[in-house]
């Protein structure tokens, strides 16, 4: 009986520490010992109370498991992620906003990312980049119609200059085509305004050189007898840095990649062109949070 008492005391302490697994283990050991004891009223009572404890612990563990499966970041946490992301770099406010939005998207928090990208639409330098990311995120959410809807709304509101509209439209079109949704666009063929939407026709002086938009990539797998490629949609692009999401099956094909690894041959599918290049892996890890959980996130930098 003394042994059982010790086990129960330990279990209680572990439980108070939040160490539920460890508490459960002690209770189970206690019940096993108790089972071997002679029948008595005391034994039955103790057994009932231990069994109840075990059930409670199992329930709590199960509930925690469920919580973890759908970890939703609260508003507060999301704000903290955003602050955290821009912590170590001294960035301008909007650049910090951009980086925060990207981190959210990388965690699969696409909706919040879209909200953040929307705030950047008024920034002359970043607006096109933001618009493209909004499109990408809607497509990642499997809501291509929302991407089109936003695009239409931008046109109504004359958000961009003509050249920018063409740029964004091309981007939208290629992304939709890539997913087989080109139909969605056909009815909007004539929606690009004829004239520049801004009445005072100021030149876009401080608009940076737009990086080439990469819609998807094909990694040419090494050491195969015949050419095999791994086709992936681009989840994210920031200049020469590309982020793609891999399923665990995709992952098996390239599991030897690690940070600094040089991917020897990649096909880059642009809006209207294709080029072949190489990449250096900058990060490769399993996603452990959000809707893309258990997939893999690969970041690499394009090199010539």
């Amino acid at each position: 009986m003394k042994e059982i008492k010790t086990l129960i005391q330990e279990a209680e302490i572990y439980q108070s520490q939040g160490l539920l697994q460890d508490a459960l283990r002690q209770y189970i050991s206690a019940s096993k010992i108790l089972l071997k004891k002679e029948q008595s009223e005391k034994k039955n009572m103790l057994m009932r109370s231990i069994t109840k404890k075990i059930h409670q612990l199992e329930q709590s563990l199960y509930n925690n498991q469920q919580d973890l499966k759908t970890p939703k970041l609260s508003k507060k946490s999301q704000d903290l992620v955003k602050n955290l992301s821009s912590y170590s770099k001294k960035l301008g406010k909007d650049e910090a906003l951009l980086e925060g939005a990207m981190s959210l998207a990388k965690l699969g928090q696409y909706k919040s990312a879209i909200t953040e990208f929307n705030k950047l639409l008024t920034n002359k330098k970043l607006c096109v980049h933001a618009a493209k990311n909004i499109i990408r995120n809607f497509i990642a959410l499997s809501k291509p119609e929302m991407a089109v809807k936003h695009y239409k709304r931008w046109i109504e509101k004359k958000r961009f200059q003509n050249r920018q509209f063409e740029n964004i439209r091309l981007f939208l079109e290629s992304n939709l085509k890539n997913k087989g949704f080109e139909k969605l666009l056909s009815s909007h063929n004539d929606t690009i305004p004829e004239k520049p939407p801004t009445s005072n026709n100021q030149p876009i002086d401080d608009e940076p050189e737009e990086p080439l938009d990469i819609i998807s990539i094909g990694i040419i797998l090494e050491n195969r007898s015949k050419e095999e490629t791994l086709e992936l949609d681009v989840n994210f692009q920031s200049g020469n840095n590309i982020n793609v999401i891999l399923t665990s099956n995709d992952h098996k094909l390239v599991e030897h990649y690690s940070v600094g690894y040089k991917i020897p041959q990649i096909r880059f599918f642009l809006v209207n062109a294709l080029f072949i290049g190489q990449g250096i892996v900058s990060s490769f890890s399993k996603i452990t949070l959000g809707p893309k959980i258990d997939n893999y996130s690969l970041d690499f930098e394009i090199i010539d």
Partner: protein, 204 residues
Amino acid sequence: MAIVNLKKREIECKIVYYGPGRCGKTTNLEYIHKAFKKQVTSEMVSINTDGDRTLFFDFLPMELGKLKGCDVRVHLYTVPGQVQYTSTRKLVLRGVDGIVFVADSLEVRREKNMLSLKDLHQNLKEYGLSILKIPLVLQFNKRDLAKEGIPLMSAEQMEKDLNKQLKVPSYPGSAITGEGVGKTLQACLKLTIQSLKKELSWND
């Protein structure tokens, strides 16, 4: 990667409390927040889910003395311990200047301590940092539980498990009673400031 703000004459650095789930990281910060009130300049943000776990991190800057005429402002963070949150843990380590590794003295947590230290090593590596070079101290927490008669590891055992290669300062403590908590933080701050001086070539 401390941030030096010459305009405000301020140096910002970041210390992260790392360790397995439930080892007492949050309790450490809570104690610091209470006990060093004068130095604390911000609210503590702590986020818990229903399962009473820290989902994210706690945030607590405090002011230290001056370094070459600059105020040193320290951000203290904890990381969530659950395996499910590896990406968050990695994110919190970004730009870290010093680390307190909180180990759980409970014997049943032996393996969890070692796994967490390995995880720290790996995550630092991914940021190009070496666990052997970064300012790091260990805390053997929950020593108060010895009097409850629950199996604890001896300090020697924990040294052998965790500190054989690292050879960093280690402190027994109890985040609940506050024993050793200040000492651990002080030691980590000292190492961090030393390393910052070196990094900024500000040796006196």
